[in-house]
């Protein structure tokens, strides 16, 4: 994994949302927040975003230069 594999994510539309799967992979974001780490501390990879977070259409990747 290199730096490019790590992504920061936010909630589409700027709201609050929570995701969790299994024992790990927990992400809770308040309005306007973004994070590049799971609640457990490990980085969010692009693959994890695509497989876990993107499917419900709730989260999106923060594109460089768009952070608030």
């Amino acid at each position: 994994m290199n730096r490019e594999d790590i992504v920061a994510v936010q909630v589409k539309g700027g709201g609050a949302a929570h995701f969790s799967m299994g024992m790990g992979h927990t992400l809770t974001l308040g309005p306007g927040e973004s994070s590049d780490k799971w609640a457990e501390g490990s980085p969010i990879t692009r693959g994890e975003f695509e497989v876990l977070l993107s499917r419900d259409g709730v989260f999106e990747i923060v594109e460089p230069g768009t952070e608030e």
Binding site: G15, F19, G22, M23
Partner: protein, 357 residues
């Protein structure tokens, strides 16, 4: 002086939070916090009795007698059936800890921010991990320290929704734990939760074309609807070396088992159920139960299950007046995976900001 113990005096506290690891109990602060802990009253008393397995020397040869002289404990477990009148928080808690994956959002963040919608799906071992989420349950059988227990490493082995006529829908959950427990009273347990009931008579059942199933609620025999979900623990690999009496992990070991059945009556001349049986067309089925309005609305407490691609077995049960009654049933092999689409989703709406948090 011993206090008398009655079922009415027992306490059950559940928590939205998952443990950080097998064997690491949730904190008492999490169990009692208004945002995460919740005290509910089940239909009947539930037991905190730990299951134990033993080895004895009864089968050894050359002892000079036929009897055991000793026994050693080898394993612990916890299994118990909990059932509740359906409530929107309980429906979400049970489904989340049985299915393992959840996404929670505010459907109306600006106008009604206290409403939260939870979309719950089966854990996907190929996408995330095989480890089911675990929680800690506080169960007080009586006001005696050794009967005031935190049951660790609990998950929901299976659950069902029933819809008895003229009553709240019924939630039944078989709780599976490692058998670990820590005794001692939970200081200031939460007050009993106010139920946001979901009534059987408010069930809407839709069935038919994918994406636009038809409301057939008026054709459903009251009390006949039943939905169930069971996940398959990988028992063979749950007790690794060095674990002693307890499981060291709880992996998903096989495909989830989904079941749904309902009875439908139609006019004798209507062939729809027979057509459904013979056509093998992939259909959608949806159960939805609305409760009371949340805050200023329009959001309501609700629970819902969607089978996005199903094929039924349909059996003619017989005549009832000028109607013909058919039973639709959907066993585990009737829920179809189409591409990357979900097979089943459970959605609940309530006041909690998240589960498995």
């Amino acid at each position: 002086m011993a206090f008398p113990s009655r079922a009415q005096d027992q306490k059950l506290v559940l928590c939205t939070k998952k443990q950080t690891a097998m064997g690491t109990a949730l904190t008492d602060a999490s169990l009692i916090a208004a945002t995460t802990g919740a005290r509910y009253s089940p239909d009947k008393e539930v037991s905190g009795q730990i299951d134990r397995k033993f080895w004895t020397d009864i089968g050894l040869a050359m002892k000079g007698h036929d009897y055991a002289t000793t026994r050693f404990e080898t394993e612990r477990d916890y299994m118990a059936a909990y059932s509740f009148p359906a409530d929107s928080w309980l429906a979400a808690w049970i489904a989340a800890f049985a299915m393992g994956a959840i996404t929670s959002t505010q459907p109306n963040a600006g106008g009604n921010p206290t409403a939260w919608k939870h979309v719950i799906k089966p854990l996907d071992p190929s996408a995330g991990s095989k480890d089911m989420p675990l929680t800690t349950i506080y169960l007080e059988d009586a006001q005696t320290a050794n009967l005031q227990r935190r049951l660790l490493d609990c998950t929901v082995k299976d659950f069902s929704w029933d819809f008895p006529a003229s009553a709240p829908a019924q939630l039944t959950a078989n709780i599976m734990g490692s058998g670990r427990q820590t005794p001692g009273a939970l200081a200031t347990p939460p007050a009993l939760a106010s139920l946001n009931l979901l009534m059987s008579n408010d069930l809407v059942l839709k069935y038919g074309t994918q994406g636009a199933p038809t409301d057939i609620s008026t054709q459903i025999v009251k009390g006949s609807v039943k939905f169930g979900f069971t996940w398959q623990p990988d028992d063979a690999n749950s007790r690794t070396l060095g674990g002693g009496l307890f499981r060291t992990r709880l992996w998903v070991g096989g495909p989830p088992q989904l079941t749904l059945s309902f009875q439908r009556f139609v006019d004798d001349a209507v062939s729809t159920p027979q057509d459904d049986w013979l056509a093998e067309t992939i259909q959608e089925v949806l159960l939805h139960v609305d409760g009371t309005t949340i805050g200023t609305g329009p959001e309501k407490h609700y629970m819902e299950v969607r089978g996005l691609a199903v094929r039924p077995d349909v059996i003619k049960l017989g005549q009832s007046g000028d109607k013909t009654v058919y039973e639709y049933s959907f066993g585990p092999g009737h829920w179809i995976k189409q591409g990357s689409a979900d097979v089943v989703t459970v959605t609940c709406q309530n006041l909690s900001t998240g589960f498995l948090n």
